[in-house]
């Protein structure tokens, strides 16, 4: 038998690539079923109000309208990934207290189901909603202390989550410092801007399950939230993911899922057996799903002349928007990562998540990490400047190493490689490790009166997998078919391929472990009726978690194969080492079981006449443990870099008094092919994670984290100005340049 081995480490083509490029792949919006009805959402489009009355009488009389659903039609009118604080439909008539309130412009008021899409649109205009507007709460910093104006009147405060870390003695640490850098930072909202807006189709399947074909990140979590709202057992709900057009965290929470399920189930009860389809417009998508959290930060760090960081104090206030979504978890990460990948003896962190009437904020690539990294890396770069030390050198003197204690007072999981990553990145960018320590390269490009050049350095770490005690596991089922030899194998797995290539990776693991050619591996994916609990495609966890589950399932199946079971069928649930939540007083915890490490150098130029920043070169060194598919790894590095470029320089989400002024992709701009860096040099390190599958670590989010602070450092090198708030739009840059004079 020929050896097929070494499928791991090979840049094989994604099996779905050709279909996607040629338009053959079916995304939820492309799927049509015979006799389908259409659904449209009536959004509140006002940030804060009480609904006095909803009059649907005219709409339901329009010929072709099948049903109009409001709050009273939702069996359990609440949902939420972390807490059930959001009504499915806002309005009077449900048991949920205060569900008659709308708390942001994207709150949903009614679902219109009709024979055609244009009829839903027509009927929507015939619904009359009587609102009593309430004062709008739009500033998280004000809302934090204002207990008179509440977004959720059943709570005592707008603050819905607070963490604190107390390590060592902050005052002592500040006293030991030769320099103290104080900073106030603001990070912006960011929209996911995935290519495929929310869409899906729901029907009752042959086993009477309410079945929803939709794009998401976690089939079983969707299933659970739908089941809760419909007051049905989870096994009466079936969630299937067809091709998914990008996610980036933006599909972690519910959008169309519950609506579609409710519609199909309601029609069934009316005796109507019709699939129900919906597609959101881009505008609906932008107001209808959450964004990346803005953070408001006050901080001070101290260091000695020798470059030892002695203390860090950070206060984080984050705008959760109208509902919690994943704010508490995102803030957990930010709370940990705001002091960077450094061992600091004295740390005090306080973080607060606050409700407002803004669009909710939630999961987005990096999950609190980018905001934390921005603060930490800017502080370290400023400390380096203050003590006249090279930015790489100061990092080398403080980086976390094997056995280092985190701010939460527990040791890092084994396999810490941030020092190797920083070393490699510095070297690649021309730094020299001299007797006097690391020294930055001289900038070779000549400045003119108008164009100024600069390079900047930053590094970050990011957890792989769920953190802070969240239940974490991943299940795979494997079937081995054949007689004397394994002829083909089937993998059942829920892990979502959101475009990153997860399913390609799964197949590569199977082929490697079973020594089978790729075409002998069949994948049955993301269908709660057939595939087990996998957890979400988020937290850079899918390769790590699914890989481990596949390794376990293959091993179990091979044991049965040896015992002559045909087919040999085995399941395996992988559980990583346990994590624990923050201690309420000290914050002490075991936050994570694995990390990925990354460093970046950004080389750019600033046009001081227009404020435009042009990226010449980005060097990104990323330790991925084992690159299962190097091409996909490079794709993630380049994709994360470009998405971070938008975050750092261009993407300007404008919200005032709870209303958005950028609800389209012509007002909210993301980088185009002509804007991206001239060159992205992706350098992959493979320092095995001791508990990663074949050594692999997660890597999907990591390259996003250091980008903004590296840009800010480069702009500082070019202009002498520190930017503590971004995006660095030309206008913001010019305005600061003029202040400087």
């Amino acid at each position: 038998m020929s050896k097929i081995k070494h499928m791991i480490g090979k840049s094989i083509e994604k099996p779905d690539a050709r279909d996607k490029v040629t338009g053959q792949a079916l995304y939820p919006g492309d799927i049509n079923l015979p006799g389908q009805a259409y659904m449209k959402v009536l959004f509140a489009e006002r940030p804060h109000a009480i609904i006095q009355d909803i009059d649907i009488s005219k709409a339901v009389k329009l010929p072709g309208v099948i049903a109009v659903l409001t709050a009273k039609d939702v069996p359990v009118n609440e949902y939420g990934l972390i807490m059930n604080d959001q009504p499915v439909l806002c309005g009077p008539g449900s048991k949920k207290p205060f569900a008659e309130r709308v708390r942001f412009i994207g709150d949903q008021v009614a679902l219109i189901i009709a024979e055609s899409e244009s009829l839903t649109e027509q009927a929507k205009k015939m619904i009359n909603v009587e609102y009593q507007d309430l004062p709008v709460i739009s500033d998280a910093r004000e809302a934090k202390n204002d207990h008179g104006k509440l977004v959720h009147p059943d709570r005592e405060s707008n603050v819905f989550c607070h963490y604190q870390i107390r390590k060592g003695d902050l005052e002592k640490g500040l006293h030991e410092a030769d320099v103290i850098i104080e900073g106030e930072y603001i990070t912006p909202v960011q929209e996911h801007a995935f290519l495929q807006p929310e869409a899906g189709i729901a029907y009752i399947d042959e086993e009477d399950r309410v079945t929803i074909m939709v794009a998401g990140q976690w089939t079983h979590e969707d299933q659970e939230q739908i089941a809760h709202s419909l007051d049905l057992p989870p096994d009466k709900i079936r969630v299937i993911y067809p091709a998914i057009g990008g996610a980036f965290g933006g599909r972690e929470d519910m959008s169309v899922q519950i609506d579609l399920a409710l519609a199909a189930w309601h029609l069934m009860k009316m005796g109507i057996h019709k699939p129900v389809k919906t597609i959101w417009s881009r505008e609906e998508s932008i107001i209808g799903h959450h964004k990346r959290h803005p953070y408001f930060v006050k901080t001070r760090w101290g260091a000695t002349h020798e470059g030892k960081i002695t203390a860090a104090e950070v206060e984080l206030v984050t705008d959760g928007g109208a509902y919690a979504y994943t704010s508490t978890k995102v803030m957990g990460n930010a709370t940990l990562m705001c002091t960077g990948p450094y061992e600091i003896p004295n740390v005090k962190v306080d973080s607060y998540a606050v409700y407002t009437n803004n669009i909710p904020n939630g999961a987005f690539r990096g999950f609190g990490g980018p905001q934390g990294a921005f603060v930490a890396e800017c502080q370290v770069n400023k400390l380096a400047e203050a003590i006249n030390m090279d930015p790489v050198e100061i990092r080398m003197r403080n980086l976390l190493r094997e056995g280092s204690l985190l701010s939460v007072d527990t040791p890092m999981p084994k396999g810490v490689t941030i020092d190797k990553v920083v070393h490699k990145c510095a070297e690649k960018a021309g730094w020299k490790n001299t007797d006097k320590g690391w020294q930055a390269p001289a900038i070779s490009k000549k400045n003119t009166d108008i164009i100024k050049h600069g390079i900047g350095f930053a590094c970050s770490y990011k957890n792989v997998g769920f953190s802070f005690g969240a239940p974490e596991s991943c299940t795979a089922k494997v079937e081995l078919h054949g007689k004397d030899t394994i002829e083909h194998a089937i993998l059942y797995h829920s892990g979502a391929d959101v475009g990153q290539g997860a399913h390609t990776i799964f197949i590569q693991f199977m082929a490697e472990l079973l020594n089978l050619p790729l075409e002998k591996i069949h994948l049955i994916a993301s269908d709660t009726a057939r595939t087990g609990q996998s957890g979400s495609a988020s937290a850079s966890r899918i390769t790590f978690m699914a890989g481990n589950s596949i390794v376990g399932a293959v091993n179990n199946a091979l044991k049965k194969w040896i015992n002559n079971e045909r087919p040999a069928i085995a399941e395996y649930e992988f559980r990583p080492p346990k994590t624990t939540p923050f201690d309420p007083q000290t914050g002490k915890c075991q936050p994570n079981f694995s990390y990925g490490y990354v460093a970046q150098v950004v080389d750019l130029e600033v046009d001081t006449q227009t404020g435009k920043i042009k990226l010449d070169k980005v060097i990104c060194v990323d330790d991925v443990g084992k690159a299962v598919n190097p091409l996909l790894v490079r794709g993630q590095i380049e994709g994360a870099t470009v998405q971070a470029q938008g975050y750092a320089l261009m993407e300007n989400f404008i919200q005032k008094e709870g209303r958005t002024y950028t609800p389209t992709l012509s007002t909210y701009l993301i980088p185009t092919i002509l804007d991206i860096p001239e060159q992205i040099n992706s350098i992959i390190l493979e320092e095995a994670d001791p508990i990663g599958p074949l050594g692999a670590r997660g890597m999907g989010e990591m390259p996003f984290l250091p980008f903004t602070p590296a840009v800010v450092a480069a702009v500082h090198a070019a202009t002498g100005i520190w930017f503590d708030e971004f995006p660095l739009t030309p206008e913001r840059v010019i305005s600061k340049l003029h202040e400087k004079g």
Binding site: S118, E121, S281, Q609, T610, I654, T672, I673, P730, E731
Partner: protein, 296 residues
């Protein structure tokens, strides 16, 4: 059946056989019909509910609408429905009117420029129109077929406000013509957008300059600014400075400052008024510098 954009209302697509027929139809259906060429603005505005026309009157198939003709004596004629890509790629335009090619190439994306037209850009009367400035400084004149027959409309008096022009119901612009450019001229269009592809301009600066014995300075400049006023803005004060004073770095500075002081931009999602004014100064100065270096 499956309407991809439920906001796009139903409309009738009218394909008249002659210009006269088209004009007649447009007059008969005043306020509910429009001439249709590339459609890059019409379709979007109809989808978004801003325009509610019942009829789109196809005119791009009519004779001469997509032709480009250059005559070394009379100048250039571009059929109204000629795509921007065809304008930008035409050898005579690249050779004799490179400023127009440059401006056409700065519009949105290649795909869009396959349908978008220079005349459509002008008739839209957006103050942000990228090709309007070049068309104005090059002395563009529109040929219009209206209910009363053929006439011409110079661009200098064409714009009345955002989206508003002197065109009346029944009017169909059939072509834009340009005279032979002045001897020794050079031009420059600088567009500042938020991204490098597809954005509308935050500010656009078009400059054309040439030797002119009739002015005190010996040179004449035409300067048109985009996105800084309700209509494409002629920076007359800056032009006057450059006509009257012997050109020097200080005079170029003064002209750029005059351009800035003369315009009255607004705040919007793309930029503040303050930034726009600063950019008018900096980019006018930059464009003047480039043009002056070539013509002096």
């Amino acid at each position: 059946m499956n309407n991809a954009h439920p906001g796009l209302p139903e409309f009738d697509y009218i394909k008249p056989a002659t210009l006269a027929e088209a004009s007649q139809f447009l007059v008969q259906h005043e306020n509910e019909s429009r001439p249709f060429m590339g459609g890059t603005d019409i379709i979007v505005r109809m989808r978004d509910g801003f325009w509610k026309d019942k009829y789109l009157v196809e005119v791009k198939h009519l004779e001469g609408m997509t032709s480009i003709h250059f005559d070394p004596v009379k100048g250039l004629t571009i059929g109204a429905a000629t795509s921007m890509n065809n304008v930008a790629a035409h050898p005579d335009i690249q050779r004799y009117y490179p400023l127009l090619a440059e401006a056409a190439n700065s519009v949105a994306s290649y795909q869009l420029r396959n349908r978008a037209t220079v005349v459509g850009n002008i008739c839209n009367a957006s103050p942000a129109g990228d090709t309007t400035g070049a068309s104005m400084v090059l002395g563009g004149v529109l040929s219009v077929h209206g209910a009363g027959g053929l006439r011409t409309e110079p661009l200098t008096t064409f714009f009345l406000g955002p989206g508003k022009t002197v065109l009346k119901p029944g009017d169909i612009v059939t072509a834009i013509t340009f005279p032979i450019p002045p001897k020794g001229w050079a031009g420059k269009y600088i567009k500042l957008g938020r991204n490098a592809l597809s954005d509308l301009s935050i500010v656009g600066v078009t400059v054309l300059g040439y030797p002119d014995a009739a002015t005190k300075s010996g040179y004449r400049f035409h300067i048109v600014l985009a996105s800084v006023a309700p209509v494409p803005f002629v920076a007359a004060a800056a032009e006057a400075v450059l006509a009257e004073k012997t050109i020097s770095d200080d005079v170029l500075d003064a002209a750029a400052a005059a351009a800035m002081d003369g315009c009255k931009p607004i705040d919007d999602v793309r930029s503040s008024a303050r930034y726009r004014k600063l950019m008018v100064r900096n980019l006018t100065r930059k464009a003047l510098d480039e043009v002056w270096t070539k013509i002096k």
